[in-house]
Symmetry: C2
Subunit: 386 residues, 2 copies
């Protein structure tokens, strides 16, 4: 049975060629804008020029240097700038990290209670204001452009947490596939792996006869695996990049998880690998999911069989289909150059014990059946370094 | 290539058992509510009692008797009541007709320019206010619960037109599958046919390599044809009704038409059959689409082949697949008791000429290639009475 659900997503998507030029129609005139971006790729691909041209009429304050896995420490500098300059609107230009960071900045600028890590990231206080923001997305991956969540890291303690609020939906997101043409292959691969894993976390649980949700999830995965070789070969293929970009957005805009159980244990374990070993977010997922599938193959049996059949057109006995579900998942990651063993990143027994300790201390158990205990995390990671 | 598109849909969906009880959390407290409904089925299925219990704290004014294909004449009475009573919120309780009527009422109550037929239905004036409204949906069919469009009829002139505005999204729609358990079979069949045809109008055009849009459309159609025999047999099957209800909603919430060509000629022709012969909306579509497919089989070839293969698992030559696409569509409608010949409703040459005349006078040409001319309309309808 489909669980009761509530779905609300007011993000305006502006999709297509030359759509950055539409920015001024979507930001209130007279706004003072904080422009947030990352390491500077927007200066190389022409996006910065397009944005500045589109916003010629606005007063702009810039904050660059938001890193992948954006840190609280960096973001608080943007918050201070935004407060000092009294900005009315924030425009995130970049990928999911810049946008996630911008969501934190949006919540923190008007927040007056102090201790933003505890109050906003760890959600210890309910806040009722956020500075409105929009996004120009340059990397299909995280889905942050059409949801109200973010993942923020703390450099000083090597922690990484998810945060969110209904106040943190972007007012709009501009998705121009041409802005992705100059992406390096490793980032394209990361984006594919990230979007793919997002769908898997919402799909590969247990069946509740949610037909639309299953059809949509399978459709998004099939799209990703179909476009993967194309975008890896030629990142200037407009059709393939368009499909990749829209797939990554719908992969995490809330639609796929309506009324169905979700897992998210892979993400939680992956976050620790990123925090402790600096593994790229998407790559951290690829060294967890296959072993989580193995570890949970009895509980996830129904969906693993369905996945092997519907997504990969496999046939065979239940046993064979389950094995193929895992194998095909590993092959998908590897086909785009993403390793599927944590040992590649130097993860060993010490890291596993530290992660187990963190999960024990946190006391939150993940997985659709709330059974990915610290022992389970240990077992899953052991397979990944075996 | 996917066309540039903009997608925005702020409707909050509240889905599941006993969700009518959540109404008061979604309507501002202290609101004076205009409760709109239709012919009284809500008094038989317990929905009225549930709604009144949920709204015990509010002042309520009731307006019943909104008919299928809601008429301007009836709706203006509700508008006058709403104005007189100074209502702050409107709650539509019923199916798509009540909700479509409510959208008109919402736009008309605060409108001060008079001549609401021309100004609001025929969109001759831009208005900037609408009374906020929500919905309790009792019939999966039109998709009106998650979009900003409506279709309104004028009894005096036997006209039927589509209207809409970004102001006319419901604030929320409550979808409790149990409210549909007492629906008569003919209404369930109509709902299935309506939702099915909505998807076809957005899907069966020409391919633009929009993979997500195609996957989602095919997924919705497969869901509808899978649940159809189940809900026709047992309207109290919660799983089947849930899937039907959610499928009908996503069939017309804007997602399927993002960046792809759309047809809508079947609807435009069907509207005339409803206006002139009183044919149920959904039934009017079923006597047009198969012949539009036949008439346009060269132009729609690519998608007809894809549809036969992906939706119906058919194989064969292109010629065979095209024939099967049409045949399967006819069989689907007939399988749920929906006739596929306009002659069944007494439509003859005279009606065809009147419809041709109306299309000629209107001067608007429909179809994804803007080529469903008055002559094409005549040819299509001739096949339907042959």
């Amino acid at each position: 049975m489909i669980s009761n659900f509530s779905y609300y997503n007011p993000v305006k998507i502006i999709f297509g060629k030359d759509t950055i030029a539409l920015l001024s129609k979507n930001i209130p005139s007279g706004s003072k804008i904080l422009l947030t971006y990352g390491g500077g790729s927007i200066f190389k691909n022409g996006v910065y020029e397009q944005v500045k041209a589109a916003l010629a009429e606005y007063e702009i304050v810039e904050f660059g240097g938001i890193e992948p896995n954006p840190t609280f420490e960096t973001l608080m500098k943007a918050v201070e700038l935004g407060r000092k300059e009294n900005v009315d609107f924030i425009l995130s230009v970049g990928g999911g990290s810049v946008l996630d960071g911008t969501k934190f900045i949006s919540a923190a600028i008007p927040f007056e209670g102090g201790n933003e890590w505890d109050n906003i990231v760890l959600r210890k206080t309910k806040y009722d204001k956020a500075t409105p923001f929009g996004a120009v997305l340059t990397l299909p991956a995280t889905g942050s452009e059409m949801n109200s969540g973010a993942v923020i890291s703390k450099a000083s303690t090597k922690e990484k947490y998810g945060m969110g609020s209904p106040l943190l939906f972007p007012k709009f997101s501009v998705l121009d596939p041409e802005t992705t043409f100059s992406l390096p292959k490793n980032q394209i691969a990361n984006g594919l792996a990230d979007a793919f894993t997002h769908v898997m976390e919402q799909y590969l649980t247990y069946p509740v006869n949610a037909m639309i949700q299953d059809e949509f999830a399978e459709g998004v995965i099939r799209t990703l695996i179909t476009v993967a070789p194309k975008v890896m070969k030629d990142s200037t293929d407009y059709d393939a990049m368009s499909n990749f970009m829209w797939a990554a957005t719908v992969a995490l805009n809330g639609l796929l998880s309506t009324g169905v159980p979700t897992d998210w244990a892979t993400h939680q374990i992956g976050h620790e690998l990123t925090a402790l070993h600096g593994v790229d977010h998407a790559r951290s997922l690829a060294v967890v999911l296959p072993y989580l599938m193995k570890y949970k193959k009895e509980d996830k049996k129904g969906k693993m069989i369905q996945y092997a059949q519907k997504v990969w057109n496999e046939t065979g006995t239940d046993e064979e289909l389950i094995a193929k579900a895992i194998q095909r998942t590993i092959e998908f990651y590897e086909s785009i150059g993403i390793p599927t063993k944590a040992s590649v990143y130097g993860v060993g027994e010490e890291t596993i014990q530290e992660i187990k300790k963190r999960f024990t201390e946190r006391g939150v158990i993940y997985g659709e059946r709330k059974d990915i205990t610290p022992d389970a995390v240990e077992a899953i990671l052991r397979m990944s370094i075996a």
